[in-house]
Subunit: 356 residues, 2 copies
């Protein structure tokens, strides 16, 4: 099988980690029968300054018509409001209807307090519809409004995705591949005590979707948490969560919180999943403070490549990458500075490739 993958490094350390993603895909054993064709696409704030767009429409077309998946690095946000600039990642998610943002957050199994959860974030609506306007009140005061939009369709769809992931994780646990044991659980996060209609809709659709027979049969338990309480519990008892499903913005916040618990954003991958297209994306940003030093942690990108393969149906290939990364972490000798080590990006990648 030939997989056509777009490489979109973006700004900052995006350019240092995306090449690592390419390398690991190319290093997969031939016995897996996978071939890759790569296309490089520009994106980000630097491109915007040069070309007036942070991601050209023709690049959207390339993704849509010529690619099976992509690896997206990171982009810088301008430090002041810049007219006409908007984040390419949000744009791509929306244009390609990459409706689920799947973010597995885990420690290695040998950790004293193992954490192994997945945050399943709705990826197309909520405040990310970016419908905003600025107004003046009768006394001349300025104010601005943004729309938070939640649809039944997107809420049911993301909850179904969360349920399927819970079932899949349980299968892996039963087959002995996953080493941290718990029973399947989906936690629905919302703030319906304040937002009774929008978050109320998310909540009721998610509950309904997760009450489907396939999830009941698989023993998937369902609970809910108000988002503030969710953040509290995430810190207090991270080991007890399995799959967390949330509207877009809460999912954004929760996944950074969860990343903090496992030691570094540099470890956490994500997949932006649509019908027939998957884009892997490390959860970290463009990290201007460390860019150019060759010390960015490549693991979030390597795991994102694995996650992309997983959602493209290539589970054997993805399992190989996960295992090689875990072996590097468990060994603990070649770690990047965010994990307390001294290894360069290059050295970490080489070590992981060796373990593949």
């Amino acid at each position: 099988r030939v997989l056509r993958i777009a490489l979109i490094p973006g700004d900052g350390i995006g350019r240092e980690v995306i090449p690592a993603g390419r390398r690991i895909l190319e290093a997969l054993p031939p016995s897996l029968g996978l071939k890759f064709e790569f296309t490089r696409l520009d994106a980000g704030y630097e491109l915007f300054q040069a070309a007036g767009t942070s991601f050209p429409d023709r690049s959207i077309d390339v993704l849509r018509h010529e690619c099976d998946g992509a690896l997206f690095g990171a982009v810088s946000s301008p430090t002041r409001a810049v007219k006409g600039y908007s984040s390419p990642i949000v744009h791509i998610r929306k244009k390609l209807d990459l409706y689920a943002n799947v973010r597995p957050v885990k420690t290695v199994a040998t950790d004293a307090n193992p954490i192994d959860m997945v945050i399943v974030r709705e990826n197309t609506e909520d405040l990310y519809v970016k419908e905003e306007r600025t107004l003046e009140d009768p006394e001349g005061g300025v104010y601005a409004e943004a729309i938070k939009r939640i649809s039944a369709r997107a809420s049911s769809r993301i909850a179904t995705m969360a349920g399927k992931i819970a079932v899949q994780r349980q299968k892996l646990r039963e087959s002995g591949v996953a080493s941290i044991h718990k029973s399947p659980l989906v936690t629905i996060t919302h703030k319906s005590n304040v937002l009774s209609q929008t978050d109320g809709l998310f909540r009721s659709c998610a509950k309904e979707a997760l009450a489907a027979q396939q999830f009941v049969d698989a023993g998937v338990a369902v609970e809910e948490q108000i988002v503030d309480s969710m953040v509290y519990k995430l810190f207090r008892q991270p080991g007890s969560y399995d799959v967390i499903v949330a509207p877009n913005l809460y999912g954004d916040i929760l996944s950074d919180g969860a990343a903090a618990l496992v030691g570094s954003l540099g470890l956490v991958p994500s997949a932006n999943v649509g019908e027939g297209f998957v884009m892997g994306e490390p959860c970290h940003g463009s990290a201007p403070d460390i860019m150019g030093q060759g010390i960015a942690n490549p693991i979030a990108t390597l795991r994102s490549a694995a996650l992309m393969l997983e959602f493209l149906g290539e589970e054997k290939a993805s399992a190989k990458i996960y295992a090689a990364v875990d072996a590097n972490l468990e060994d603990g000798k070649l770690l990047s500075p965010d994990l307390g080590g001294k290894a360069k990006t290059e050295e970490v990648v080489n070590d992981i490739l060796k373990r593949l």
Copy 2:
């Protein structure tokens, strides 16, 4: 001076902790020259079921015309959407224009990794305006929209409050009262990389307000964090924050996150501050799981009483309460179960009163 204080226990453990708040106010040494007159007001979901309102208008009038402050316990949210029910706390904040929600989060000074920060949360707008509607799209799909509203006035006002608190904290540190040292810093939290108009307005107004000469002269540094990154850093390096200012919803989420870092929501107080009226409120909820057992941690309420006094200009009285609470915590012998102890609410309160 006579202070007229409304006691609003609400539901669940609110009824177990608010009496403790009353007791500590009454136990303050007469030398402080403070007298209290208490009025009890009902609120919450139980009241709603009995009377069709979660907080009657006449109670708003009592707060407005007959009280200097209040202590609010907690209210239960119904476990399913209930027509006509809405949270009394959000209602009171809005009706009395209690524009700042101030939430100090700290460990005792003897903690190995001391944390001492205040979250200053805008308390009147953002998604809490609760303007929502439910609609149908052309294909018959249901969706809902909520307005997130951010005004220049409220943003400047809350940032100014944050700046003043930073200055005040620095004064306390310089006078040797506060024992955890750091330099004054206000961190502005927003998500203007996605919400350029609403959060962009919050950001620019906050920056401008904090650039005022009074803050510059006092050496208050100002920085900003995107909310997802803020949650990450809050967990990774909590000791480095001093004052965090945020729009309503982010403030809600961040304060629960910060509470997790100091061990328990049962420790974290808040003050809802307006012009001429202050309402203390523990950050925890009504905790139906432990209600009726007499084991709720009263400290969040005792500290809320202190915080209320602080904003009513009675700093000596509030310092006494804080010190008595800290002494109980440092001693560590009479702690409630949320802190790993076995003491009942009553025993904790008695111990703290003894130390007053």
